[in-house]
């Protein structure tokens, strides 16, 4: 059948070309490189407590930060979409700042804020809360860079949320809480999941923001991307590649799982 709109072959071809050059080749090179590493060395790297701690912090911290971002991001997006207040447009524009700032800049800024002598840190320190050079600091830095993903994903979904749905729920006898829990949240679930995924993916690979605030203490606040850099500086290319491959595999696994969950909501888009 002749299509009215031409270009399927052309667009698919270009898509595959770009994808191959920009995504597939580097990843393939990594896998090829890792494939040359002796098996026992991979096992040794993977059972190294320092490596495991770093991977745990990268993935665990990313999941925690993305989860918190999803909650706060929902609040921010709700306020921006539903209410008209002075400064709303400015706030809306500033949401994207973490996208635009060089990660090192935001990392240094966060460190000076939360450091023992920082504006916020000096008040937390006497309470026994250490943000800088602790895992808490890592999570805060990851939240900072992940928030825009959640807000920007939720905004259009909230704008599409018909106020009639809430009125319908209210007229059927549902209170505010039941309406929120049974109508609004489930309707937003696909967008929430997408926002979480983007924030999570970004946080897993984050490097620049964290290296300043975390202090990179092995076994404590060292993240996997930093450990890869450490290995590279020690000319341990095989070790670096091994960690990278594990990160790739875990990330792929998590993203695929979320994607599957997402498609199970596909009825919502109908």
């Amino acid at each position: 059948m002749q299509r009215v709109l031409p270009g399927f072959g052309l667009t698919l071809g270009l898509t595959l070309l770009y994808w191959s050059l920009i995504v597939f080749l580097p990843v393939a090179a990594l896998v090829v490189r890792a494939a040359g590493i002796p098996w026992e060395q991979i096992v040794r790297t993977m059972t190294d407590p320092r490596v495991l701690a770093a991977l745990g912090l990268s993935f665990g911290g990313a999941a925690l930060a993305a989860g918190l971002d999803t909650m706060f991001g929902l609040l921010v997006a709700w306020a921006l979409v539903r209410y008209r207040f002075p400064g709303r447009r400015l706030l809306d524009a500033m949401i994207d700042l973490p996208f635009a700032l060089p990660t090192a800049v935001s990392g240094i800024a966060l460190t000076s804020l939360y450091g023992p002598n920082g504006w916020i840190g000096r008040w937390l320190e006497p309470l026994g809360i250490h943000v800088a050079y602790s895992r808490l600091g890592v999570v805060i830095a990851l939240m900072f860079i992940g928030l825009p993903f959640v807000v920007r994903t939720l905004q259009p979904a909230l704008e599409d949320l018909d106020p009639e749905l809430e009125e319908a729920a209210a007229s059927l006898g549902a209170g505010r809480w039941a309406t929120w829990q049974r109508v609004i949240l489930p309707t937003l679930r696909p967008a929430l999941l997408t926002g979480f995924t983007l924030a999570f993916a970004r946080a897993v690979g984050e490097y620049g923001t964290i290296v300043f605030i975390s202090g990179n203490l092995p076994m404590k606040t060292e993240i996997a991307p930093f450990l890869i850099v450490v290995k590279l500086e020690q000319y341990d290319y095989a070790g670096a590649a091994a960690i990278a491959v594990v990160m790739l595999a875990v990330a792929l696994l998590v993203l695929t799982a979320i994607h599957r969950l997402q498609t199970s909501y596909s009825f919502l888009r109908g």
């Binding site: 729920a169 007229s171 006898g173 549902a174």
Partner: protein
Amino acid sequence: MSIEVRHMSKTFGRFRVLRDVSLRVETGELVALLGPSGSGKTTLLRIIAGLEQPDAGSGPILFHDEDVADQRVGDRRVGFVFQHYALFRHMTVFENVAFGLRVRPRRLRPSPRQIREKVEQLLHLVQLDFLADRYPHQLSGGQRQRVALARALAMEPKVLLLDEPFGSLDAKVRQELRGWLRRLHDEIRLTSVFVTHDQEEALELADRVVVMNEGRIEQIGSPDEVFHQPKTEFVISFLGQVNRFHGRLERGKVHFASLQWETPEWEQAEACPAHVFIRPHDLQVAASSNGQPALSACVQHIHSAGPKVRLELATDGGQKLLAEITQEQYRTEPLTVGSRVFLTPQNIKVFPYPSDST
């Protein structure tokens, strides 16, 4: 359960949507709020439901003579059907209908079995049993409409309010659903109010029609009354097409165009200008003059596809007129575009107006 509102006013910003409206709907009635957009009909419906607050100083909202003005929408037990249905898209048809039962406080909530029975019974009532497991986006417009209705009925409402219930359906489905809703109402006899801008829908479906314009009620009456005895110029112009003439009322007669007409009902009125309204089917069309006084006009268009043949005419003075004749007459009379015809009114409606306005 009767509904009554007294002296309702509503202002949005500087725009007065409702101006001192009072209305009573008797138990078991099916009433239409009919008017153009911006006439305040939807706002009145939403105030009755509790989705909108009337201005301070408005009178009470009575359900069965009990004031519910201070009750929240959820406590008023109104079934509200939204124009775009507002179905919960992440829930199946079954879950949508069950929603009103599931969100009840625990002590009032029916058991899961009772809920199942109730929902199945309602889906049967709206003839959608076979779609219980589908999601809203898998349904046609007419089916969604009926799901919305079943969902509103599930919470056993005291009154049913429908906002433009057939507004977003195509003509044929609209016709079918209209008849179906009328039968459903005859069956369950729930006091119902629906909003529409379609005069045909209001006249065909409702026991009584409330014609609204610019935030006021122009006339309340049975479909027959509002159509045949319109009380205001707005009502006669809004309910179907009509020809309007400028005339003068004097000693029980109205003079308009080249004609005069006895108007005994205005016998006592002072001489004054008046508007004369004639429905297209009340203009008798003849191809030749029979000597009686008549309006002379020229045929400009003929629409013959339909139960009646509609003629667009222009008088010598340039005024556009509409007339309707039977298919039978159309076939026997030599009428073509450009022919000259003679029009004799069969029935007219006169509304005098003070000479300082138009």
